[in-house]
């Protein structure tokens, strides 16, 4: 099965429906008798709700219901939750305000959901929503994370004085302070990690359906984790007990984290389906998504690096204010804490690290995980410090990094993470060669001759993913375990269904998981179906995010496959009449050791179900096994990306001339799919670094609220990528995979900014480095360095 098994670049099975327009996304699904929901949203950033008058809306043609927060409260529907408890330095639990699915008493950001109109047609719902009258008592907006905690700022939640959710820290302050006081050189940077709007191409959508005869709810939703949605909607929000709530996440058009969270709209749709007695469908419009989808990033950081005289790093410290937005979204508290600070060692041997993080409320859209979730923020801090430190001390940026690389494993960092395996020098060497680093000076000269400015930037990143060992994250405040489940159902004729708790919204699991089965059970991939996304089919799972589906999801499949083989051996032994422990399984066949007896996998499957040849008291009929796999450790993908840019000083336009990516993801299940993940991640990282700008005005209005003002990367913004892999297998899971889904987005931004600053001879430029920003930086260059 080598052409179909692990390591093969098999073309994707799921492609057929997508390339022929037969995908089934939530908006493609229509339920008989369905009604349409439109949400009325706050036009102001911060206000009390003094009165809501829905009478005109209710009387509007086609309207079946208009609901507000009071209606949800009357039905005892709970609020949206944040599932990760963070404690502050003083040991106190984080201070979180309530997050109702429809606003109660106050609105706290432009776009906050205030009411819902449900009508026969979408246009009727829109017309009626415009008739809802809300009397707002406006309060001052609090927009900027850097100043939101200042005295005199309006209080967004009573529970969080000073708009401070937590003041958290990690590391050894005393050791760091001592190191800095002995440092030969200190590099200090003020860094903003710019807020991003995820903008998966499929807008979020939900259909709530209620069967009164069976007292059964069904929710179709654009979710990365339907079981988590069911758990939260059932246990915390109180829609229905789990066994009465089915959640289906069919084809989903991209997530990038934004579709992890349990949002107001799907909560209201499923609740309203019972109120209305008909299915309720909601589909976000893009400008609505800009306001209503969780945003990403938005950190303001002061960071410092201490070096000794030889250039060895002594310590790193960072002080970060993290914007959490107006309410805590499902995982929001964890992203700027445990998904961020533990990565501040980067690839480097840093003896002492200390990081303080304030989680801060502002009257803006809630912020939560977005591709990379904390690790891009950490990598940007580390790689900018390394770059600037190299420049300031006159060292080559590649060799400065190399001299500080961790060189022996396992390596315990000062910030929780213990890196298990890696070879950072190998990645750097390969990247330098692929990027033709030696030729850079000549290329710079040629660009200068043509009146352009050329620069090259490194990003040596490491990240922690394969999220996560349950006890570890539990001890850090997570409310859930982060194992994954797989059930392998072998059919009597030998075909297989794998029911996985992972969810595929672009990652190609229908192919890669089938490849794992092909390798482990010898069954061709066209005889394997991967089933996901339906809580009625897959018993329980934790979903897909955090680059976990290879490391955790596929490992669960491996464990289940081991159990299948174990049982298969017992059945085969009985059938072949050989001792139980004398059966081997190779290349899809069960072999009686020392005999010429053998049975194919399909023959054994049939016998398992026919059950004629073994004693059912000893061996149960059937061939179906499951596994819940809890990872032993995070995994640690790492690599080196090199960006080379050419700037037109007349306009500030920056062209990416070439991109080199050398990544170590351990074992690759499907190299073609892995490369695709790297490509997509790089594009999002470039978007953050050069194009994507989420701007609020001082009243909390989102100025960049549509694709007309928020620049999504297009094909002509990006080059083709030169991608290569090095391999140090992951020692902590049976497949040796590390995961690859987020690495590009983590690696790319510092590579871009380091390249631009190299071209400009500057120490710093903020993200996004738009043409205007680059042009301004060019103006500040010494005359002789700027274009003729």
């Amino acid at each position: 099965m080598t052409d179909q098994g692990i390591g093969a670049s098999v073309k994707r099975k799921e492609d057929l429906r997508f390339i022929t327009g037969k995908g089934q996304y939530v908006d493609d699904i229509n339920r008989h008798g369905q009604t349409y929901a439109v949400f009325a949203r706050s036009p102001v950033a911060h206000a009390t709700i003094n009165n809501i008058d829905v009478s005109e809306a209710l009387a509007s043609p086609g309207v079946l219901g208009v609901y507000t927060g009071a209606d949800l409260a009357a039905d005892k529907i709970g609020g949206l939750i944040c599932g990760w408890m963070i404690h502050s330095k003083d040991g106190s639990p984080m201070k979180a305000g309530a997050h109702p699915a429809l606003a109660q008493g106050k609105v706290r950001y432009v776009g906050d959901h205030v009411a819902v109109v449900i009508a026969e047609t979408l246009d009727q719902a829109k017309d009626a929503a415009a008739l809802i009258q809300v009397d707002y008592g406006e309060l001052p907006a609090v927009v900027d994370v850097a100043t939101a905690q200042a005295a005199g700022k309006a209080q967004i939640h009573d529970e969080a004085p000073g708009n401070t959710v937590y003041q958290w820290h990690l590391g050894d302050k005393d050791a760091v302070d001592a190191a800095f006081s002995n440092a030969a050189h200190v590099t200090k940077l003020d860094i903003t990690n710019n807020r991003l709007v995820p903008n998966a191409m499929e807008p979020r959508a939900a259909i709530g359906d209620y069967d009164a005869g069976q007292d059964q709810f069904t929710l179709y939703t654009t979710s990365q984790n339907p079981h988590v949605a069911r758990l939260v909607l059932s246990a915390f929000i109180g829609i229905a007990p789990e066994h009465k709530l089915r959640v289906i996440a069919p084809d989903v058009g991209g997530g990038f984290g934004s579709k992890i969270f349990i949002y107001a709209e799907e909560t209201v749709c499923i609740w309203a389906a019972k109120k209305i007695g008909r299915p309720v469908k909601w589909v976000a419009e893009r400008t609505e998504a800009f306001l209503a989808d969780a945003h990403g990033r938005d950190h303001v950081t002061t960071a410092e690096l201490a070096l000794d005289a030889s250039g060895k790093i002594l310590a790193l410290r960072a002080n970060t204010k993290a914007n959490l937005g107006a309410y805590l979204s499902t995982f929001a508290s964890s992203v700027p804490t445990y998904l961020y600070a533990p990565l501040l060692s980067g690839q480097y041997d840093i003896p002492a690290i200390y990081c303080e993080v304030d989680g801060v409320y502002t009257t803006t859209t809630p912020v939560d995980a977005y591709r990379g979730a904390g690790r891009p923020e950490a990598t940007f801090v580390v790689e900018r410090l390394l770059e600037v430190a190299a420049r300031q001390t006159g060292r080559d940026p590649a060799e400065f990094r190399r001299m500080n690389f961790i060189k022996s494993f396992p390596h315990q960092t000062p910030v929780i993470m213990a890196y298990d395996a890696g070879n950072y020098g190998a990645s750097l060497d390969k990247a330098l060669e692929m990027a033709d680093y030696k030729g850079l000076a000549a290329r710079k000269a040629a660009s200068a001759k043509a009146g352009k400015l050329r620069g090259l930037g490194f990003s040596a990143y490491i990240e922690a993913c394969g999220i996560a060992p349950s006890r570890a994250v539990g001890s850090l405040g997570a409310g859930v375990g982060l194992w994954e489940s797989a059930e392998i159902r072998v059919n009597p004729v030998g075909t297989i269904e794998v029911l996985t708790g992972s969810h595929s919204h672009g990652q190609g699991h229908e192919t890669t998981f089938a490849q794992v089965i092909a390798s482990k059970l010898g069954v061709p991939i066209d005889q394997v179906s991967i089933v996901h996304g339906d809580t009625d089919k897959v018993q329980m799972g934790m979903g897909t995010y955090g680059s976990r589906s290879g490391a955790v999801g596929a490992s669960a499949i491996v464990k289940a496959a081991e159990k299948i083989v174990a049982k298969g051996k017992r059945v085969a032994a009985a059938c072949m009449e050989v001792p139980e422990d004398s059966v081997d399984f190779e290349n899809g066949e069960f072999l009686g050791r020392g005999t010429n007896k053998k049975m194919t996998f399909g023959e054994v499957a049939l016998q398992a179900y026919v059950a004629h040849k073994f004693d059912p008291e000893v061996i149960e009929p059937g061939l179906k096994e499951g596994s819940f796999y809890d990872p032993k450790n995070f995994t640690f993908p790492s690599g080196v990306h090199i960006a080379e840019v050419e700037i037109d000083p007349d306009t500030g336009h920056t062209r990416i001339d070439r991109w080199t990516a050398v990544d170590d993801f351990g074992i690759l299940i499907n190299p073609m799919i892995v490369e695709g993940q790297v490509h997509g991640g790089i594009a999002q990282g470039v978007g953050q670094a050069m194009l994507e700008h989420t701007v609020y005005d001082e009243n909390g209005q989102l100025i960049t609220g549509s694709l007309m003002d928020y620049a999504m990367p297009r094909a002509d913004d990006l080059p083709s990528y030169n991608v290569a892999m090095t391999t140090t297998p992951c020692p902590s899971n049976p497949l040796g995979v590390k995961g690859c889904g987020e690495a590009g987005a983590i690696a790319a931004p510092p590579a871009v900014i380091n390249a631009i600053t190299d071209a400009l001879g500057h120490e710093d430029i903020a993200m996004p480095a738009t043409p205007q920003a680059v042009w301004r930086a060019v103006q500040k260059m010494p005359r002789k360095m700027a274009a003729e």
């Binding site: 996304y25 908006d27 499929e202 990038f256 790297v678």
Partner: protein
């Protein structure tokens, strides 16, 4: 209500529609051709791209009523029975899709690019011509490869002449 009659994927279609019906909504809701997707509300993302009288257009920026007598081809009309169009094959060959949401529009745009630029359309032209199609998943690299391949195979399938989508 307005009477409308046009050809969609080779079949004559007649309907009585509310004139404000966009072509994309007519395709998705009236004809149940849900392969054409809605990804934005500013007519920028291109997920709704179809062919109208042989040229790519954004179906969200065309009234169905304006298509009276016209010939519309959607993603569902590209394949010939079970034989995929060369561009569809090329997208699969090159892993030019991940979540699939932008894919129908991307494929229709790709076919149109090749129709206009021919078999040897270069990378820089392809990238520029994809200005009206946004993808969040792939980073475009494989999409460009797919369109380069689709260009070559479309032309060789027809002995070098332009192919309009059937």
């Amino acid at each position: 209500m307005t009477k409308l009659s046009l050809t969609v994927n080779g079949r004559r279609v007649a309907a009585d529609i509310d004139p404000r019906t966009l072509l994309v909504d007519f395709l998705r809701n009236d004809l149940r051709l849900t392969g054409t997707h809605v990804g934005c509300d500013t007519s920028q993302c291109g997920a709704c791209t179809v062919h109208l009288d042989g040229r790519s257009v954004k179906a969200c920026a065309v009234l169905a009523a304006s298509c009276e007598g016209a010939d519309v081809v959607t993603i569902e009309g590209l394949a010939s029975g079970t034989t995929l169009h060369p561009m569809q094959e090329a997208f699969r060959e090159h892993h030019a899709l991940q979540c699939g949401f932008c894919t129908p529009g991307m494929i229709m745009a790709g076919v149109d690019i090749v129709n206009r630029h021919g078999a040897s359309v270069d990378e820089s032209t392809i990238r520029k011509e994809l200005e009206g199609n946004i993808c969040r998943c792939t980073g475009y690299h494989n999409i460009v490869r797919a369109i380069e391949t689709g260009a070559a195979t479309m032309s060789s399938a027809q002995g070098g002449t332009k192919i309009a989508a059937e």
